[in-house]
Structure formats: C-alpha cells, structure tokens
Symmetry: C2
Subunit: 354 residues, 2 copies
C-alpha cells in the first residue's frame, strides 16, 4: 500500500523511476560550471523565436523531446504530462507542449514547480493511474525579468541579494517497474544513459505556504528560506530521519543569502545541514566571473541541475540518497505592487540511486 507518512509526507509502495530526462539551457548557463553536462546549450537565448515567451515555450518543447527520445519513447507512450512555468497563466507550458497532445495537468508552485510536478507525477504512477508520465518545468531570464520586475531594456541595477533566473528547461520521464522492464527490453535508452533508470523516487514531503512578511523581490532567497526550513523540518519529523541520512540535501534556488538563512533557521530547530546542503542556484553559475550575484533561480534552475548534474551523481553512485527540494517564491508583480509580502513554498523528494 502507498501510505501517508506523518503530516505532509507520502511513501509509494513500489518505487517510481526516473526513466530518463533531458535538459536544455541558454548561453550563460552553458558557460557556467555545469555547462558541459547539459544535453543542449542554445546558440543564443531567443532559440530561433520572435519573443522571450516563445523562446521559453520552445525550451519546454525541446526538453520533453530530449527526455522522451533518450527514454526511447514517443509522446503517445505516456499517459499524462505535469507541466508549469513562472509566467502569468503558465503560457510557456500552454504554447510549449501542446504539439505533443499528451493529457495535461498544469501545476504552479513558483520555482518549486519542478518538485510539485515530480510529486504529482509520482503519485499518479504509484497510485496505479499511469505507467509513464512526463514532468517538465522551465524559466527564462528575460521573460521572468519582464514578468516580475522590469523589462531588460530599462537597465535596472541588481542588488547583490538578487538571483539570476536560469534560462532552461528540464523534463523527466517517470515510470513504474513495468515501464522500466519494457525499456530494458527495447532499444530504449541507447541514445541516453543506458537501459536502466537514472534514479528512483522513494518519498515525498509536500510543503505549505510560509510567509515571514518579507517584501523584497530582489531577495528571493530570504523569502523562500523559511518555507525550505519548514518543509525540511517536517520531512525529518515525518520520516524520523536526520540530515546525516542523506548524502546531499539540495535546495532549488535559495542562492547564497537564502542558504545562510536556511542553515541558521534549521540550526535553531536542532538540525545541522551545513555539511550536506547544496543549492542548485549556487552550483549552476560562477558568481564571481558570471556576475550572477546570489546565484541562479527559476523553475528551470533546479530542473536542469537535477537532469544534468544530480542524476549523474546518483547514476555514478557518488551519491546514494539525496533529498531534492525545489523552492518557490509566491510572487507576482500585481501582489508586489499592491504591497503584499512574498510567501514561499518548497516540496521535497527523496531520490535514490538504482
């Protein structure tokens, strides 16, 4: 039986596998420390499109294509797609994945959307409603700045606490044991990493909205850190686990400011994660040479880092078990201009090597 665990966690009875995945990023991400690991790096950040939003849509389309192709699958082989992005009404998804004609369940959790889509995708498979699903999220530096702050043409200055929205999209094909076996028995995976799953998802903790009243859209890390602390603490309680039980505890895009806040908040609650903590936003850029200040962020940040870097470490068994927790700042320009705070949310998944 699948089971509910504690207040906010669930554990699938049978493991759900990440059969394969795909990542595509922009030029700046390609020049960063993880640049060589991504499946595709664009020549420029328009990706052949007329607008930033269309470019982001094409990122989702390409990431899904990469993930499906590497898994040896066609769009009609998967039951559902769980997809979302940061733009108003999730238009990167609406115009990005429609060509695949896969039944869509749209999700929104700000930059935590990658975690939410994987959580719901895992539930749909472990619940027996699907053999295979796709989860995809994206972000684009230019479309996000326009959506949340100022158009790039204004040349606004960015404080050191600001993060740089990652241009990129990561897609994941999830499957059950049957799907894994049929992949092994086919030509599947030959173009990817081989005829085995990249990792398995063995647990999930769903976050709640946490609002410490911060109102700074240029310091998303501090806005999200309390939510990250809340979900992490709940995860440790629900699973009866400790930071040491994980090779890495990986947040999505807290950046350098948020990382410090998270470690402090958890220390107050009796958990020291300073050894295990890693943040996708800190890994993806070289802050010194790339002028990205606190780090990378966005729906695409954790997704492409998971696909290109984290899953690789799990495959090579450098890490055996990690907690992957994309973090989201529930900001919109409307609520921001109306003087509202920026609440946060974070969803965690336990990923283990196969």
């Amino acid at each position: 039986m699948n089971q509910k665990l504690g207040k906010a966690s669930v554990r699938p009875e049978q493991p759900v596998y990440i059969l394969n995945s795909g990542s595509i990023v922009g030029t700046k991400e390609g020049q960063g420390p993880l640049g060589l690991l991504f499946d595709t790096v664009g020549e420029d950040d328009m990706f052949g499109c007329a607008t930033w939003e269309e470019a982001e849509s094409s990122l989702q389309k390409d990431a899904v294509y990469l993930a499906l192709t590497k898994a040896g699958l066609k769009p009609e082989d998967v039951s559902f797609i769980f997809a979302g992005d940061l733009l108003g009404q999730s238009i990167a998804t609406s115009f990005g994945i429609s060509a695949y004609q896969i039944p869509l369940l749209g999700v929104y959790g700000a930059c935590s959307t990658c975690g939410e889509s994987l959580t719901l995708g895992t539930m749909s498979i472990a619940g027996g409603f699907a053999d295979k699903v796709v989860c995809v999220t994206s972000s684009h530096f230019a479309s996000a700045e326009k959506e949340f702050r100022f158009p790039l043409d204004y040349g606004s200055q960015r404080p050191l606490s600001a993060t740089w929205t990652v241009t990129g999209s990561g897609a994941f094909v999830l499957g059950n044991e049957d799907a894994l076996q049929s992949m092994k028995g086919s030509d599947a995976g030959v173009t990817g990493t081989g005829r085995k799953a990249r990792a398995r998802i063995t647990g999930m903790t769903v976050g709640k909205i946490v609002d410490y009243g911060l109102k700074d859209s240029m310091n998303m890390g501090a806005c999200m850190a309390p939510a990250a602390a809340s979900t992490l603490e709940q995860h440790f309680i629900d699973y009866g686990s400790q930071p040491d039980d994980y090779d890495k505890i990986i947040t999505g895009d807290l950046g350098k400011v948020g990382q410090r806040v998270l470690i402090d908040l958890l220390r107050e609650r009796g958990y020291d994660i300073s050894t295990q903590h890693m943040d996708c936003g800190i890994e993806i850029f070289d802050g010194e040479s790339q002028d990205t200040h606190a780090g990378g962020s966005g729906c695409g940040c954790s997704a492409v880092t998971l696909s290109a870097y984290i899953l690789k470490q799990l495959e090579e068994r450098n890490w055996k078990k990690v907690l992957f927790m994309p973090t989201g700042a529930l900001l919109s320009k409307t609520s921001f201009n109306e003087g509202k705070s920026v609440p946060g949310i974070a969803h965690a998944l336990v990923l283990e090597s196969v």
Copy 2:
C-alpha cells in the same frame, strides 16, 4: 486496483466521496437564478478588502472554511489542498489559503482548474496517499478583467460573445470510505447537508491542449469549445459510453456561443449531446435581465455551480450520474498582446449520487 482507462481516463477502484462543499459568491451571482442556493452571498464585491485581488483571496479562504465546517473538519484534518485561480502566479491562492497551513499543491488550468483540482485530489485519495483533501478554486470579475483585458475604469464595451467572470469560490472536501464512516459517526455534517457524502467521483478524463487558432479574448466560449469536444469524445471512447448514459453533461463556462460550437463539433463526430448538455455559465446568470451576454465564466463559475446546484440535484437524486467538465481558455495578456491564439483545455469527472 486503480486503473488507467483508454488514452486519457482513469477509474479509481474505490469511490472517492465529495464529503461536503462550500460556495461563496458576489452580489450579481446572488441576484441570479441560482442566488438562493449559495452558502454565502457578499454584501459587496470587495468583501471587506482593499483590492480586488485581496477580495478574491478572501473568497478562497471563506469557501474552504465553509466546506471544512460543513464537513465537521478542521484544517489539520486534511492532508493536502489542491488550489488555483486565474490570476498571474495564482495569487488568490497564495494569499487566500496560507492561514490554514495545509500542504499545498498549486494547480493551473485556466477555468478548467476546478476539474483539475478535483482530478488530482481524487487521485491522491484513491492512490492511498491521503484520507481527506480539499480542492478550491476562485475567480473575481474585477480582478479577472484587470488581469486579462482592461481595468473596469476604462468602461470598455463588451461584445455579445463575451462572458462575465463569476465572482465566487467553491471548495470541496474529498474523502475515502474511512473518512466517510468517521464523518457519519461524529457530529460532522450537522451544520451541512447531513451525515452523508454529497456525491461520489467514479471516473475522470484528463484533457489535452486543443488550439483551433482563435484569437478573440472576447469570445472564450468559441476558444474552449474544441477542447471540450476533444475531452468529451475521448471520454466516450475511453469509457465506451454514450451521451445517454448521463443525466447531464455539464460544461464549465462555454456560454451560449461555446455551447452551440460544442454541440455542432460533437455532432460531426457522431455524438448528439443536445438533450443532456448544460453549461454552468448559462445557468448562473439570467442573460436577459443581468446583461451578462453569453453567460458566466471563470474558475469560480463551475465551482460554485457544482457546490450549490449540481451536488444538490445529485443529493436529491433528480440526477443519478452526470459528467462534470470545467473548460479553460489558456489566455494571458502577454500571449494575447504578442498575437498568440487562445488554446483551450477541459477536464471531465463522472459524478454519481450516493
């Protein structure tokens, strides 16, 4: 076993119950044909708040409160909340339901979000991940006009094909057999409709994005009708069912224009739904006297009509089995201003009397 059915449908092994629900609407909706059926009608459309967006947030908060109270439950009794709205980054949800501190899975499917939240909520229960969850969606005429078209102060004229976004929110407490039994054995439900479930959810068909290339944000009905036709046809195929198998086939907010398009599109595909079809957007307003043109629309339209009217008919066994299909237009002002079309999506649920 839960099972996948055909290309896009799923059937839970055990029925999932709508234990109870709540509805709150604005003044115009209160004056409409269904006015006396809603749990709460606001005195004005600001609901004591300073902005339209805050007002919409308070609608979600109140609808969830009504649904939980009528079911005899507290927020901590439910595992997850599946919530969404129409605003950029779903801010009605972000600021509406945070006080409940329920783990949140945010969803976006435009006006189909009510169907999506119920679909995912049902999967989480039928999959064994939760005993009880809440699903809530909302819309507000004034926040929606500002978000998608023009601020009300401009006094823009509305063509006859335009719909009137419903100010309202509907929330639903879903539960499994255990949850139903414990509700029966407690004081639960005494403030609501009694110690039994309002209906059960016995099947679901997940829609895909369908885009016929229409670009008119003042004719959402025509934009959504092809998606409604697609999901309905897929539903009939997956379940091997016919229109006659349902007492009503209920769309969310196609309005009078969309209804005609839907009936025509399905007739071309060999299905005549003209006898069974009902549209929440047509039911909720009296178009002649209320100047609402093609009908009501929005995330709240199907939700409050389900809570106040459809579930009542199922309880009274005037209807035994209906297909409830909220319809969504995947529009944003950004994509619209960039000249993109308005794709549609629709998710269907089979609801049966208990």
